[in-house]
Each structure stands twice: as C-alpha cells, then as structure tokens.
C-alpha cells in the first residue's frame, strides 16, 4: 500500500437531503426485471431470444451488433416478456418476467489463480459479466482483445448521497478479493484499488491482496476512476485502462466461486423525497416499484424525478422503472417544473449555489432539497475560472470543452480528452451559470475521437 495520501482540494460535495441510513432491508422480490441496452454506451443490441421464451439467470438475451462476442444475459430465471422501444425503434428495455425458481446457467466455478487469462475472459464473455469491465478512454465496455496497461477499482463513491461501500461489502469480503484476483490476471500491469482516507475502514479493502492500494482524500469527484487514474497512472494517447465498479467486482468473485451469474446487489435508496432512505437488497435489473411503496413524500409522480444512480450522472427512470446495470443507488428528488416569480433576483434560503452569490456558503451545515429546475436559460460561456474549481485534474476544462465544440480533434487530444469521461465533468455542468450541457459535450468529443480512430 502506498503510504502517502493523494490529497485533492478541488471538487464539491453538494449538501443534499436524503442520505441512506445504514439499515439493510430486503425488498419484496420484484416480478419484473429489465436489461437496458442504453446502460451500455455505444452498443447496438441484436436479440437472441423470442418473446415468451424461457430463460435462466445467465441465459443470453442479446449481443452487441459491433462485437458478437459481447453478450448480455438475464439476471434472473423466468421468461422473456417484451421489448420496450423508444424513438426510431431504439430498444430501451428488455423485460424479463421472473419465476422465482432461481435457475442458473452453470458456467463452472474456478480458482482464478490457477486458470489462464484466456479462460477467464471466455468465462466472463459467456456469463455476460464481461460488460462489467469498461475501459478508458471513451468509457465504454472493454474490448476483450485489448491488453490494458492497468485496471482501476474504486472502493468508495464520492457522489452526492452515494452508498457507503464499507457497508455494502459486509459479508462479501471473500467474493470481493476473488474478484480482484480475477482482475489481476487480466493485466500485465497493476490493479489499482483506491480507498478513501477517512471513510474506508475495512481491512479487506485497506489490505487487499494482488492489488496496489491508493489512499485518496477530498470532495467529489475524488471517487471517480478518471480522477484517480489521473493521479496514479495517467492515460496518454494510445493507452487503454480498464475499470470495474465496486459491486461488480463482488459479482465477478461469485461467478468464479459458484460458477453462476448471481445478480444480487445492494442499492442505497436516497433523496429528499424518500421517506425512509435506506439500503435495500435487490437483484440486478429489478424494478423499483416495491421499494417505493409507502416510501414517497407524495404519490403525485409527475412532481417527482426518479433517478437510477446519483443526481449528477444517473439516468431518469419512472416509478416502476428498473435499476441500471452499473448503479448502486436510486435517488428521488422533486421536479422543478414550476415557474418562480423573480427567482433569479430574490435571495432564496432554500436554494443552493456553490458560488458565493447566495447565502448557502454562509451555512455550510445546511442540507438542501434541490429540484430539477435548470435555474436559468442557456447562454454562451461568460464566467471563467469556475470550472477549474471542481475538476481536480491538471486539465483546462473550459478550453477542452471549447475544443470539442469546434470539433478540433488535435486540440482535444492535446488538452487531455483521453483522460476524461462525462462523469468527471458532471460538477462542471452542475455549477455552469450558462447552463451548458457539458457532459453531453464531453461525450460528443469522445464519440468523435472514437470514430476518427476506429
């Protein structure tokens, strides 16, 4: 373990109401599950099953048109119910009606230490859990043919109201270590495990084996892989690094221990509109319907925003919607769809600003119930020097964003586009007084580069 702590000063912890209490509930099992292709950026799903067909947990549902090796499997046993399509017939949800039999496809357990890299990759591909491994640059599912220079796992989440990973791992320590062992076989470089100086207490994490442990301290986005990689082993042009989310490492561990795709996970149900914010045991892809029962401040769902993930990067779902593949958190906040008289002028004690233009900076102890109002109109960039304050990287955010806006690929590369993902710029988007959709801009830039070099 490296002895020094990487101290990040820049960033922002948005003080929101509705942090999950450390109480673990088991939800009444959902009868409906979904795998959502939009969770996997850049793939185009091709279906492998027909409506009504029986599936087991681990049975293939669809594959990626651009890479047939990468398949996506059902998290539960039951039958394939339907496809929900959106605009241009884009597949949004592949729904499974669960049967509660818990039939699993057996992929065969194995000790990751004693099998070779190729077998590990094949097992991951067959089980559908390859999709847990993503890569930087581009923040997309990794290509099994690549040889990453390093693999990153973050043992803490710094996002607003994020779950406490020390709490989540309880009772699953061995599976987590097995998962790390699997990852260490996938790279010739190092597996980097980042922990939080103040919050990470568990020995399983602070003294994890087969990995290099790094200590971080500081506000969000210190928990983001991109920020951590920037300070540990930065991604340069031509480099590829992989990363896996915390709970998915545990899932990888279970795959190798028991030989099955065991999709159990824990999510934190958070946000100001949840009556009892707590932790819940669910299965990958479950509907949030049962968790919301008698647990919302209002039943008028048009005045609520349901988010799978955190308020900065999560995706909008609906009251009966499904938890995203990579998410360990569901957040419910009020919609801000009401006009506000002179809202931009009058001092509002319940509004929050990271700048010192409101009174919130004088009340650092206060927690806020923030809604989804944009709080202003879209404008050209005017204020400068504010984006730098929430991006703990040696990257010039405004210059990079402008380079992307003018499609200058050369300049984007020079300014460090390979190191970033939309999530790293989420706080820049949050504070932007010009209300620029900065995460979308970053994604456009990554798309452009990826297209140029593929």
């Amino acid at each position: 373990m490296s002895k020094t702590t990487i101290n990040l000063k820049k960033g922002l912890d948005i003080p929101l109401k509705g942090k999950a209490e450390k109480i673990l509930n088991t939800a009444e099992r959902s009868d409906l599950y979904a795998v959502k292709p939009p969770d996997f950026y850049g793939i185009v799903p091709k279906m492998l099953v027909k409506e009504g067909e029986k599936v087991k947990a681990g049975s293939p549902l669809f594959y990626n048109k651009y890479d047939e090796k990468i398949i996506f499997t059902s998290p539960v046993s039951g039958k394939f119910k339907e496809i929900i399509r959106g605009e241009k017939r884009k597949i949004l949800e592949v729904r499974i009606q669960a049967d509660n039999n818990d039939d699993y496809v057996n992929f065969g357990g194995a000790d990751p230490k004693s099998i070779n890299r190729e077998d590990i990759i094949n097992k991951l591909l067959a089980s559908g859990l390859w999709s847990t491994i993503r890569q930087r640059p581009y923040s997309v599912i990794a290509n099994p043919d690549d040889k990453p220079k390093a693999i990153f796992v973050s043992a803490f989440d710094s996002a607003p109201l994020a779950p406490d990973f020390d709490f989540l791992i309880n009772g699953q320590e061995e599976d987590f270590q097995t998962g790390l062992d699997v990852l260490s076989k996938l790279t010739k470089g190092t597996v980097h495990l980042s922990i939080n100086e103040e919050r990470t207490m568990r020995r399983t994490l602070t003294h994890a084996k087969n990995v290099e442990v790094h200590k971080f301290s500081g506000p969000h986005p210190a928990g983001n892989i991109g920020i951590q990689a920037h300070h540990i082993d930065p991604i340069n042009s031509g480099d590829i690094v992989w990363y896996v989310d915390f709970q998915n490492v545990i899932m990888l561990g279970r795959l190798f221990k028991n030989g099955i795709y065991d999709g159990r996970k824990i999510i934190a149900l958070t946000g100001s509109e949840v009556l009892r914010p707590r932790y819940w045991r669910i299965i990958q892809g479950a509907s949030i319907k049962n968790l919301m029962k008698d647990n919302l401040t209002t039943e008028d769902t048009s005045s609520l925003r349901f988010i799978s993930g955190n308020v900065l990067t999560g995706s909008k779902i609906y009251r009966e919607g499904f938890v995203g593949f990579y998410d360990s958190q569901v957040t419910v906040i009020p919609e801000g769809n009401k006009p506000e008289f002179m809202g931009w002028l009058l001092p509002k004690p319940n509004k929050y600003s990271a700048t010192r233009t409101l009174f919130s900076w004088l009340m650092p102890w206060k927690k806020y119930r923030l809604d989804t109002n944009l709080n202003g109109g879209n404008r050209a960039f005017v204020l400068t020097g504010i984006y730098e304050k929430v991006l703990p990287m040696d990257i010039l955010p405004m210059q990079l964003i402008k380079a992307i806006m003018i499609n200058d690929i050369g300049l984007m590369e020079k300014l460090g586009i390979y190191e970033v993902a939309p999530e790293d710029f989420a706080l820049c988007e949050f504070i932007c007084p010009s209300k620029t959709e900065i995460q979308s801009v970053i994604r456009d830039g990554l798309d452009l580069i990826q297209k140029e070099f593929s």
Partner: protein, 395 residues
C-alpha cells in the same frame, strides 16, 4: 403575485407558435424570464443545477456599481456648485446630479436594449442580459455633459459592431462599454476633451466663479500643475472633476469588495492590475527624469480611472484572459500600461481605456501560452512515463 401569473398565462399563447405575435416570441420571453425563472427542467446530464445563472450574475455586477453611481451623482452636483461658488448640502448636490444623470442612464439602456431586442427577434435567440451591465457602465465612464443622442449612437454602434456581429454576449472581443467610449473619443473627440467633466451650463442666478477651470486632476498633472490636484481625502471620497463613476476610490473599493466576495468579479485580475500599476509607478519613481515620474505611487491609484478600470473594466470575464495564470499576466500588464500611457504620453492623460482595450485584444494570446504550457506538461509525462515504455516493449 397570483394575478401576475394569471395575466402571464393569458398572454403567453399569443406569443407561442401559432399565436398572433409568434414572431416576437423572443421579446416576450425576455420579459417573461425577467419576471419568472421558467419552469424548464433538466432533461439530460446532471439532474440538479446550481442556482446561479447569468441574470443573477449580471445583477450582482449592477449592485456593485451602485456605490460609485451614488457618489457620482452626488459629485456631479458638488462640482457644479463648487464651480458657481456655492457650498451645497449633500441633498442639494445629490438632487442636482440625479436630474442630470437619470436621463443619461435611461437613454443608454433604451438605445442598447432596443437594438438587442431587434437582433434577438431577427435571429430568434434569447435576449442576453449582458447589456444590463454595459448600459450602466457606459454612463459611468462618460462625463455628465455628454449629449443624449451621442450616448444613443455610441450604444447602438457597440451592440451591433461590438457584440452582435460576433454572436452576442460571451462572443465579443473587446469590452463593450469601453468600445462605446472609444467610439465617442475617436469619432467625436470634442465631447471627451477639454473641460467637459463638470456641468457648467449655469442656471439662472448662478455665475461661474472667476478663473474656474474644471480640469481633472489628471490633466492638471499632465500640464505640470502637480500642486493643484485635490487633497488626498477628496480624491479618496471622490470630490473632484472626472467622469461620473471614476472619481471615488472609496466607493469603487466597496463595489470591488462585493464583486470579489461573491466571486462575480475576479479578485485575481483586480489585484494584478494594482500590482502592475504599483510596479510601473514605482519604476518611474526610481527613474525620476521629470516631475510626472515622481508622483507618489498611491496618487496614481487615486487619479483618473485607474481603480474603476481595475475593478469593473479589466474584470469583464468575456474579454479578459480566461486561464488562471493568464489572468495574472493580463491584469499586471494592464496596470503597467495604464501608468505607462499616462506618464509617457501626454496626448492621452487617461490611459485606462486604451490599456484595457489593448489587453482585451491580447488576452487570447496570453491564454494561448498558458494552454501551451499545459499541453507541454502532458507531452512530457508521455515521454517520462516508465509504465508506458514497458507496455510498448512487451507488445
């Protein structure tokens, strides 16, 4: 308030697609968003957003301009009464100033905003609030004797040539208020030279005192009459001839403090301008070839528009350098240039406008070098990274 909302709901359909006045939707929208923060919610990206927007930002700049404006109003009356040999009460002086300055402000806003609205309607884009600041700034950097039509023409010129042809607020190259002033200075120099700083069209029963000059302290200095400048106290509170907003160091510092605390104005730039000014004035003090070079440093900061330029003009985020380090360089060079022009070029006793306009043009160049340094660091890292070298070998 509910009544306002009802009226709003009634009128709105006329301006929306299909309505009678759909063409003027943008004009309606400007008024509507002025009264209400619209019910627009986030649809992608971050689900919550900071409460700050450009309207609030601009309003904060206007609030910060209130102290120099109030002192400017008082000083306009004060200078007039001094010119006619009367010692006025604060109230008398203030009332006189108010009568003279309010029309200037109204004309400035109306001319600029009407031009902005026309452009917004033609181009179908939201009206930008940038002019709310520019409209007031323009008045504060002009003498009270400026004819109303001149302000209107200068503002229309600025909005069109200074801003709209580049794409509106946020896209302009030079500070719009200073562009307005330079338009007048170079197009109609008579209005900005000579004894124009005091309102001297005497009212009935008043008579100018004998030998009254009305020269600004800065022009006194330029003419070598250094002993004739007002006392330090008068320069500090702003009791001297000058353009409306520039005279009071105290009021400007108050506004500057507000800008710096709220973070709306860059403290970095303000301090660097002062640092640059102090450095240059100090250098001249050391060289001391002539009397002008020997003016004490703190007098330089009190004289002319130095403080006003540092606090309100140099800090315009659109035209200033945008990188952190760039801001130091940009501000410092403005400070240096102001004193340089002031001392070495007697043709332009007020070098503030020219110094800032020049650095506005150079700020992208300054940023370019700061960005290049960042790029070089990244290139160096690529070369020095052992992991990278090892990985390339093994493949």
């Amino acid at each position: 308030m509910k009544a306002i909302k009802n009226i709003r709901d009634k009128i709105r359909p006329h301006f929306e697609t299909g309505g009678r006045f759909a063409k003027y939707y943008r004009a309606w929208e400007a008024f509507d968003t002025f009264l209400f923060v619209p019910e627009k919610t986030t649809f992608k990206g971050s689900h919550i957003r900071d409460a700050i927007d450009l309207k609030r930002t601009m309003v904060y700049v206007i609030i910060s301009l209130i102290p120099p404006l109030l002192v400017g109003i008082w000083n306009t009356g004060q200078q007039y009464y001094q010119a006619v040999g009367i010692d006025p009460t604060i109230q008398e002086a203030f009332t006189f100033g108010l009568i003279k300055i309010i029309p200037l402000i109204i004309v400035s806003y109306v001319a600029g905003l009407v031009t902005e609205f026309i452009f917004a309607v033609i181009h179908n884009k939201e009206v930008n609030e940038g002019f709310l600041v520019t409209g007031l700034l323009v008045v504060l950097i002009l003498p009270v004797t400026m004819p109303l039509w001149m302000i209107a023409v200068a503002n229309i010129f600025t909005v069109i040539i200074g801003k709209e042809i580049f794409g509106g607020t946020g896209m302009n190259v030079v500070n719009p208020a200073l562009l307005s002033r330079s338009f007048i200075l170079f197009g109609y120099p008579a209005y900005l030279s000579g004894e124009v700083y005091t309102y001297t069209e005497v009212q009935e029963g008043h008579q100018l005192v004998d030998g009254y000059s009305g020269a600004t302290p800065l022009s006194l200095v330029a003419e070598g009459e250094i002993e004739a400048i007002p006392s330090e106290f008068n320069m500090f509170i702003g009791n001297m001839p000058g353009v409306i907003g520039e005279t009071s160091f105290a009021a400007i510092m108050l506004g500057g403090l507000f800008l710096a605390i709220t973070g709306v104005g860059s403290l970095r730039i303000m301090l660097s301008v002062f640092a640059g000014g102090i450095f240059m004035a100090g250098t001249f003090n050391l060289l001391a070839f002539n009397e002008y070079m020997m003016i004490p440093i703190h007098h330089h900061l009190l004289l002319g528009a130095f403080a006003f330029g540092a606090v309100y003009m140099a800090t315009d985020p659109v035209t200033a350098a945008q990188t952190g380090r760039g801001k130091y360089i940009y501000g410092f060079l403005i400070g240096v240039l102001i004193i340089l022009i002031r001392v070495l070029n007697p043709g332009f006793p007020g070098g503030v406008m020219l110094a800032i306009l020049l650095m506005n043009v150079f700020s992208p160049l300054i940023d370019h070098y700061v960005v290049e340094a960042n790029i070089k660091r990244r290139m160096k890292r690529l070369k020095n990274n052992p992991v990278n070298v090892k990985e390339t070998k093994s493949q």
